[in-house]
């Protein structure tokens, strides 16, 4: 065997174990759950599980609730994170450096703990209520076991990670470009729309994808601090699988969330591979 083909075999051997794991924990389950979702009670194949998802009143309200929460959360996360990342990139002061040091902390805090912290803080007799009481405010708006609570938790979980992705993309924007644009008299907004946004929109899309999928597929926060009905789809899936033991319906619901994210998932993979192809040639 030539040296080159030996190296080729070696490369494949090194990659194979991790690919096999990937196959068993991602590709196989997704294929199987698709088949399972089309199985009806008598063992035949039809769309009955999907029809149930869209005709059952409770299911429909769960789907609408999940989409509402997700869209509001993603919008807020992107707006806040982008503003924060851009501000940190182009301003340098003691306070900015403080924020830079701290903003990544929440990424590493266990989700259960953060959710618990938010419950204790925002509950109707929580720490926030105790502070407000000192200022004569005696009734807190309802956050916990409510949609607002889920959205707040989503912001807590997603803003740091999104900011991190965007901050890393923004460090790649060279100072010289910005300065020369300033020299020729470009205003703040023009620099933003004509330079910064085009240079970072790809990461913005990646960040949007992560936030969208993270929130649609979330479980911990909605399970612990969401309302009993309507539920987020993650919680509903877990209940159908664990409590009602209906694997077909749970699979159908899982596959429905895949479908909702498929456009973003496809886009994420396409953008990622496009860049690399450009580099290889």
């Amino acid at each position: 065997m030539s040296k080159q083909s030996k190296m080729g075999v070696l490369g494949l051997l090194l990659v194979l174990p991790s690919f096999l794991v990937l196959f068993v924990i991602v590709i196989l389950p997704v294929a199987l759950s698709f088949k399972e979702s089309l199985t009806n009670d008598s063992g035949g194949y039809d769309l009955s599980n999907y029809i149930y998802l869209f005709t059952d009143k409770l299911m429909r309200s769960n789907i609408i609730f999940t989409l509402t929460v997700t869209i509001i959360s993603v919008g807020l996360v992107l707006a806040v994170s982008y503003a924060l990342a851009v501000y940190m990139r182009f301003n340098d002061s003691a306070i900015v450096r403080w924020i830079q040091k701290m903003y990544m902390i929440p990424i590493f805090i266990p989700g259960v703990i953060a959710t618990y912290g938010l419950i204790r803080m925002l509950g109707n007799r929580g720490w926030a209520a105790q502070f407000l009481y000192q200022f004569g405010v005696e009734s807190m708006p309802r956050f916990i076991f409510d949609m607002k609570g889920i959205i707040i938790a989503n912001l807590w979980f997603n803003i740091p990670f999104t900011t991190m992705l965007l901050a890393s993309a923004l460090t790649a924007v060279p100072n010289s470009i910005i300065e020369s644009a300033k020299d020729v008299g470009a205003g703040m907004w023009r620099i933003f729309f004509n330079l910064i946004l085009p240079l970072t929109y790809k990461t913005l899309l990646v960040a949007a994808t992560f936030a969208f999928m993270g929130i649609i597929g979330s479980f911990t926060a909605p399970f612990l601090l969401g309302p009993n009905a309507p539920q987020m789809l993650g919680v509903s899936m877990q209940q159908i699988f664990g409590v009602f033991q209906d694997r077909q319906l749970a699979s159908a619901l899982a596959f429905f969330t895949f479908f909702l994210c498929s456009i973003m998932g496809y886009f994420y993979i396409r953008e990622m591979t496009k860049e690399e192809r450009g580099k290889a040639t």
Binding site: W98, M102, Y103, V112, L165
Partner: protein, 274 residues
């Protein structure tokens, strides 16, 4: 007040407000738990407790299920980290240094772990595990923990290996070092920061993983985050706060140890190629 604002400048004031909102929103809930854990009794509407105590710590540590969950969590996290190092680092080296057929396809296949919403994927896996009899087994729990780490455990080291200049390896080869020696003395040490960050991140990720374990590991494999689900509803708030600190402590210790290596750039290379 007004002359003071003018003297400091609106920009400073704005930044200060951002900092305050940031700290209250992100660190407030954590600080609240930290205070609760050392509280004896906290009566509404006091802003701070009047009675401090460590009694909830002994209460928590005396509960059998809690103590055993701590050991189990660390065991699983160690296994997941070891397994992922063994299977991912060689792959990362191959992606960075070896030309082999379909290498791009394999590299991008790891994107699939992020292309599905997590709870949907976990349900699909649970359906598969149910068929394979992997529900409620250690292997099942380890596999479900691997999903979240597979991609960055491959990609962060891949970019770390790529950043090692080939010229340095070549000159060592010219000086007569064997390929293995070059890898051990040149390539590995230079890629170490990336590998270290990825490994630490993997360990923490496994330690904190709750949803997947909750789905496939119940009732035998109740790790710390899974126990936390029931603590929140069944125990007094102080006990929950104490347990939160126990669960968060390894994170803080490891992060402080690794903060030299940790940057937004290294971290984000695990989620996108640049």
């Amino acid at each position: 007040m007004r002359w003071y604002l003018k003297a400091v400048g609106p920009k400073k004031v704005f930044e200060f407000l951002v900092l305050v909102v940031f700290i209250v929103f992100f660190l407030g809930p954590l600080l609240n738990l930290a205070i609760l854990a050392f509280t004896g009794n906290w009566v509404y509407p006091d802003v701070l407790p009047k009675e401090w105590s460590l009694k909830w710590w002994s209460f928590v540590l005396e509960q059998d299920e809690i103590a055993s969950s701590i050991g189990l969590s660390f065991l699983i996290a160690a296994i997941v980290t070891a397994v992922s190092i063994v299977i991912c680092i060689p792959a990362a080296y191959a992606f960075a240094r070896i030309r082999f057929p379909l290498s791009r396809f394999f590299l991008f296949s790891f994107l699939l772990t992020n292309a599905f919403p997590k709870m949907g994927l976990y349900i699909s896996i649970a359906v598969l595990f149910y068929r394979l009899d992997l529900m409620n087994t250690l292997l099942g729990v380890v596999l479900i923990h691997l999903i979240n780490v597979l991609m960055f455990m491959t990609w962060i080291p891949t970019s770390a290996f790529r950043n090692v200049h080939a010229a340095q390896e070549e000159s060592a080869r010219d000086a007569g070092a064997s390929p293995f020696r070059v890898f051990r003395s040149i390539t590995l040490p230079m890629a170490m920061p990336g590998i270290a960050v990825a490994s630490i991140f993997t360990f923490l990720n496994s330690l904190d993983e709750a949803q997947g374990t909750f789905l496939v590991g119940i009732p035998n494999y109740r790790t710390m985050p899974v126990i936390m689900y029931s603590i929140i509803s069944d125990y007094p708030a102080y006990a929950g706060a104490v347990f939160s600190i126990i669960l968060t402590a390894p994170t803080i210790i490891l992060l402080l140890a690794a903060r030299r290596f940790l940057s937004a750039d290294v971290m984000s290379s695990g989620f996108q190629l640049k």
